[in-house]
């Protein structure tokens, strides 16, 4: 009987594949892409446990176990990058996360559609510009001969160089990121707000609620779900795009490495400029990815436990 069942299952599978063969044919290139560009690099993580030698390639390089991780824990530059990454991300969570929500709530108050649309168009524009271009603009405007210092001098104040100064680099990153993304990020909240039934507000004002009260009791519960999901995504990216790589990479320079170097920029420099062992930098990336995954899963579970729909 067992043999017959096995044969039946195999036939069953083949029949279903045959029925949907066009679908599988369409899916195949997609799966191949993921295999090559996502899963094969994951296989390369074994490098984290090897001493990479160029002439030996990945498979033949000698296995050295957790040596790289031991080196990492003693590596001053690594901890500095780790610390900076966390600081950047926490700052972003505190400063950047609420701003699109507030903006969306404000924009939602505007009744004239045309004004609202114009505002949205302007505010969303910087999102589509690359950090290469934006960094060029910012470096120019805030440079020693740039327009900002020009205005300051004309007003008799001292000149500033936020991109070169350790104390102002981080805030500069946070603020410029808000400038670039607040419009785009607010879209998803605006969409959620647009789904709120206006009669709720009317009923509330009849009952005597003022603007503030109706915001807390009507607006907030309606966007809680969206905020929860965005929060999961934000927490999940603490390790990486908390400080967006593109942004930091294009704006930072040697004088501010000690406050600006993030795990991603450190791995890049260590691999390609300084020339540290590829196995070592892979180990760093490996650790980062694991922490990343743990954070997302924990955040997702927390949000679900609080009663909202999670992401996963």
């Amino acid at each position: 009987m067992k043999k017959k069942n096995k044969k039946n299952t195999v036939i069953y599978i083949l029949e279903r594949i045959n029925k949907d063969k066009l679908l599988y044919a369409m899916l195949l290139p997609v799966l191949i892409w993921y295999l090559i560009f996502c899963y094969m690099p994951m296989g390369g993580l074994s490098l984290a446990f090897k001493n990479y030698k160029f002439n030996m390639g990945l498979w033949k390089s000698p296995f050295i176990g957790f040596t790289h991780f031991k080196t990492m824990f003693a590596d001053y530059d690594f901890w500095r990058a780790f610390k900076n990454t966390i600081i950047f991300s926490l700052g972003k969570l505190v400063l950047h996360f609420p701003t699109p929500i507030i903006l969306a709530i404000l924009l939602n108050e505007i009744t004239r559609m045309r004004t609202k649309k114009v505002f949205q168009t302007v505010l969303t524009f910087p999102h589509f510009i690359s950090w290469v271009v934006l960094s060029g603009i910012l470096i120019n405007m805030f440079g020693s001969t740039g327009i900002i210092n020009n205005i300051l001098q004309a007003m008799g104040l001292r000149t500033v160089s936020p991109l070169m100064s350790k104390s102002s680099f981080r805030p500069f990153i946070w603020i410029s990121n808000i400038w670039k993304e607040v419009g785009w990020d607010s879209i998803i909240y605006l969409a959620a707000l647009a789904g709120i039934d206006p009669t709720l507000y009317e009923a509330a004002s009849i009952d005597g609620a003022n603007k503030f009260q109706s915001t807390i009791h009507i607006t907030w519960p309606s966007i809680r779900g969206t905020v929860a999901i965005m929060l999961i995504l934000a927490v999940g990216s603490i390790m990486s795009s908390g400080a967006s790589f593109d942004q930091v990479f294009n704006l930072y320079s040697a004088p501010v490495y000690s406050v600006a170097d993030t795990i991603d920029t450190y791995v890049y420099r260590a691999s390609f400029t300084v020339g540290l062992n590829f196995g070592y930098t892979t180990a760093i990336g490996f650790l980062k990815s694991i922490i990343n995954m743990v954070l997302i899963v924990v955040a997702n579970k927390t949000v679900k436990a609080m009663g909202e729909d999670g992401l996963l």
Binding site: L22, P41, M42, F119, V122, V133, D246, N250, V267
Partner: protein, 292 residues
């Protein structure tokens, strides 16, 4: 009646606040524009705030005479056109197939794909895999690795799953196969949606610089953003580009007109495409997808 008046006042205050915010956001781009139209001489002595001191096309002339700039423009155009074609092909096919709830193995495939959003191999393994595939200093180095954006794929899948089954069923009765259904029915109906992602992918490919940074060092293959990066950030007198020779000065301020003109040239396509993005996107695309 008094209540209505105070409501209007608060709305007006909000409008003012946001208008100021918009001005702050837009000003840097405006600044770029006016500097790009200024003459180099004027830039040496004055910093334009609202209007250029003397209007001059020097910056633009230098940009368009620079062979490196023109070749990088071409490269970016090729990467964008081919890249978006690949993006849309893979994404549409993948999203459509994965939206079919009766497909065997669907959950497995979806988990494998979503997993890649949580975890990846890191920079070095990625670099090694791509270079071992021979994708070094080839135009495909900038096109293939960015084949699919998983986030977009999931949103598209959710959208296709929300379309009524009857569409597909009636087509199947008429004898259409899946490919025909996708191309002749599903896509035309979803045009605004498809168009939005087409434009998102287009902007992404146009802004491509990271893969070029990693895998390309042949000057003739560099895309626009890398070229811009050299002009704007990595500025160094040793990179004797044509533009510098024309202006022939070491002072950074003289490069400004050229720098800003390059930015304008690089950003114009995005500005052209932007109204279309706005138009199609505001159809609540995001809400529907996140709810699922």
């Amino acid at each position: 009646m008094k209540k209505k008046r105070t409501y209007n006042l608060s709305e007006k205050i909000i409008v003012v606040i946001i208008a100021v915010l918009c001005l702050i956001i837009i000003y840097p781009f405006y600044y770029v524009l006016i500097v790009s139209f200024s003459s180099v001489k004027a830039l040496n002595t004055h910093v334009p705030y609202l209007l250029p001191y003397t209007i001059d096309l020097e910056g633009y002339k230098a940009v368009f005479q620079d062979k490196h700039m023109l070749s990088s423009l071409c490269n970016s155009i090729i990467v964008t056109v081919v890249g978006v074609a690949l993006n849309m092909l893979l994404s549409l096919m993948g999203a459509y197939v994965l939206s079919k709830k009766t497909l065997m193995g669907r959950k497995l495939f979806l988990s494998l794909i979503i997993f890649t959003m949580l975890f990846n191999g890191g920079l070095v393994p990625y670099y090694l895999v791509v270079t071992r595939l021979g994708l070094k200093n080839v135009i495909w180095s900038m096109i293939l690795p960015t084949g699919i954006n998983t986030f977009y794929l999931i949103i598209m899948k959710n959208y296709f799953a929300s379309l009524p089954q009857s569409l597909e069923e009636s087509a199947k009765i008429d004898g259409a196969n899946d490919i025909v259904i996708l191309t002749k029915i599903i896509i035309p109906i979803s045009m605004p949606f498809v168009a939005t992602f087409f434009l998102f992918y287009a902007v992404e490919r146009w802004n491509e610089w990271w893969n070029a940074m990693l895998f390309i060092n042949k000057k003739s293959l560099m895309p626009l953003q890398i070229n811009l990066r050299e002009i704007l950030i990595n500025y160094s007198p040793q990179l004797a580009t044509q533009a510098q020779l024309i202006i022939s000065s070491n002072q950074k301020s003289n490069m400004q007109a050229v720098q800003m003109a390059s930015i304008v040239v690089a950003t114009v396509p995005i500005i052209c495409v932007y109204p279309f993005i706005q138009k199609h996107f505001v159809k609540g695309v995001m809400v529907g997808s996140i709810k699922e």
